[in-house]
């Protein structure tokens, strides 16, 4: 296995072909219901397709969890402008590594999802915006796209039915901010990745100011199964208001880190203990980042909860991008907060002052703190500075930097205090090196 072994607790829907031989090839795909959802959709009206996606209660897997069917419904289908489908394959939220697998092991599933979206809104052109570091995946997707053209699933007269759809990959060049939808579109158009003022949203004015469906890779990958098996079937896999399964990326201090497809609403403690094999080295759980670096951290005693959008939101965090990062008792939370802030300070696009200045100052404060030069008043200042960023930035990156910081300071204040008065980091050398390479067989 090139990645992690599967878990018997998984419900493989999107990942069901991952372990088939030649899972990337169109022959494997066609032999396992491939493009059947698309063929079925060609016999449906646009309203029926969108209706099925609405029934499935599929919510966007990129982070915000917006209902996908509703988003598709916002596209002005009668507009005379061309319409576009754009796939967000920029995957760069720290803790997240699932879109990579979806493209590597089942590229045709993504193509089919995009094709169905094209039918739903009358688009004839799609682009897959892939982060530049995933160069090999551009090769995988290009090859699959070529195969789809050769077999008549892409082109000017798809399946002889007069349907036209063209699809191409597009390489990014390294910028987390370009995962934000409007910055992605700017970048796609060949510009700096600064976000746009919204509204209008991409559904109305997206790529080249034309109506555009923009979704995450995993969101599109769910669509073929939804059309083929019905929205109600997909909805039934999850919890109310949270349809389907989710590709959870388990990382950090667990014995069996890996990407696992589990039903929406799967209990987080079970995920850590039963899927992830518990905390490595027999240590205790300290905290969990439930959905990528921008989500507020949960303390160990808050982790007995269902992993769906609403339950995690009720715990004042977010399900986010599916990146579940597990921290053991020996993790220094000041260092962890600092590493998160270093990331956001580095990735701030510099467009608006609260984010550009706020992340820079917070990085300085946290660095000073971790080096033992912090003052008691700094603890309050870190919280205040973060709160001042909330809701005051041009795009959600500012919030993404502020939210985890606020939560860490509030929930682990004693660790900040333990760094005061020139005391060395109490966790220094405790989180000793541990490699998971035993799994890499």
């Amino acid at each position: 296995m090139r990645y992690n072994p599967p878990s018997p607790l998984e419900t493989p829907v999107l990942s069901r072909r991952f372990r088939l031989p030649n899972s990337q090839s169109i022959d494997t795909y066609l032999a396992t219901d491939g493009y059947k959802g698309f063929e079925k959709a060609t016999g449906m009206t646009q309203d029926e397709i969108i209706g099925e996606v609405k029934t499935s209660i599929l919510r966007g897997r990129g982070g915000a969890g917006f209902p996908t069917g509703m988003k598709w419904g916002f596209v002005p289908r009668t507009s005379p402008k061309p319409k576009y489908i754009v796939v967000n394959a920029d995957e760069s939220e720290p803790g997240t590594c699932k879109d990579r697998l979806l493209m590597e092991f089942d590229p045709h599933q993504l193509i089919e999802g995009v094709l169905i979206a094209g039918l739903a809104v009358g688009a004839q052109q799609g682009y897959i915006y892939i982060r530049g570091e995933f160069r090999y995946l551009i090769g995988v997707m290009d090859k699959a796209i070529d195969e789809a053209y050769a077999k008549g699933y892409l082109g000017d007269n798809i399946l002889g039915k007069g349907i036209k759809f063209n699809l191409a990959t597009h390489s990014g060049a390294g910028a987390y901010e370009c995962g934000e939808e409007s910055a992605l579109l700017e970048s796609f158009e060949g510009k700096r990745g600064n976000p746009r003022i919204r509204p209008p949203f991409p559904a109305v004015a997206g790529a080249y100011q034309c109506p555009t469906i923009l979704n995450n890779v995993e969101t599109f990958c769910a669509v073929p199964s939804i059309i083929l098996n019905g929205g109600a079937w997909f909805a039934g896999l999850g919890t109310p208001k949270n349809g389907g399964t989710r590709m959870f990326c388990l990382s950090g201090h667990v014995n069996k880190p890996g990407v696992y497809e589990l039903p929406m609403g799967f209990n987080l403690m079970r995920m850590i203990n039963e899927v992830g094999g518990g905390i490595r080295g027999g240590k205790k759980l300290k905290a969990v980042v439930p959905g990528g670096s921008s989500c507020p951290i949960l303390k160990a005693d808050e982790c007995d909860l269902a992993m769906d959008y609403d339950t995690v939101a009720a715990a004042k965090s977010m399900l986010g991008s599916g990146g579940v990062v597990v921290l053991d008792e020996d993790t220094c939370m000041v260092n962890f907060a600092l590493r998160i802030m270093r990331f956001y300070a580095h990735e701030s696009c510099g467009w608006c002052i609260p984010c550009r200045e706020g992340t820079t100052w917070l990085k300085k404060l946290l660095t000073r703190f971790h080096e033992g030069q912090g003052q008691r008043s700094d603890i309050v200042m870190i919280g205040d500075l973060s709160k001042n960023m909330l809701g005051r930035t041009f795009c959600p990156l500012g919030d993404a930097a502020a939210m985890p910081t606020i939560a860490i300071v509030e929930k682990f204040r004693e660790e900040f205090e333990a760094h005061l008065d020139g005391k060395p980091c109490p966790y220094e050398n405790k989180g000793s090196y541990f490699s998971n390479s035993g799994l890499a067989a």
Binding site: R2, C97, R192, C249, G252, G323, T331, F434
Partner: protein, 173 residues
């Protein structure tokens, strides 16, 4: 400016992917692929890409500074990127980074004297569940141990290609 036949073919494809009046979309992909051949983004390359995409050199220039992968300074033949973001941090990514800088004597975004190796401490590269992760040029290495990193750096310094360092396997695809 002329490029290898493969790159020329790729560029030709780039220019047909987008609507005829939207060739500016090809600017960033062209730069990312071209710099691998030209070793860095030169003024000549900026002007060439501008010409091919029908934009001004300034419009090309302004994106170069924005994207972390675009570089005006040549990198080492093997660009070793070590992730220290949260998932990697928790399982030894920061220690790997320290080890690499100590061993090679070079720092962040610096090149070895012989130009074979450059180092970069990178943000999350999408390998969090198989951390700690390293990328050499475009190849991924998962679950990297200190011993494996040593072998990689020693081998590269001794003139080997990564694939000749058989003790450490990249993630194959």
């Amino acid at each position: 400016m002329t490029f290898s036949p493969e790159l020329e073919a790729r560029f030709e494809k780039f220019l047909t992917k987008y609507p005829a009046d939207r060739k500016r979309s090809a600017v960033i992909p062209m730069l990312v692929y071209a710099q691998d051949e030209t070793e860095a983004i030169t003024q000549e390359l900026i002007e060439e890409v501008a010409k091919r995409c029908g934009v001004t050199p300034l419009q090309v220039e302004e994106v170069v500074g924005f994207y972390s992968m675009l570089h005006k300074k040549p990198q080492g033949k093997y660009h070793v990127q070590i992730c220290t973001n949260i998932s990697c941090l928790l399982v030894g990514g920061a220690e790997l980074w320290e080890q690499a800088t100590k061993k090679t004597g070079i720092g962040h975004k610096q090149n070895s004297a012989d130009g074979r190796i450059s180092l970069e401490e990178v943000e999350c590269i999408g390998a969090c569940s198989w951390a700690p992760a390293v990328q050499i040029n475009y190849d991924f290495y998962h679950f990297v141990t200190p011993g494996q990193l040593d072998k990689l750096l020693d081998g590269l310094a001794a003139g080997k290609k990564p694939e000749e360092i058989t003790e450490v396997q990249k993630v194959s695809c």
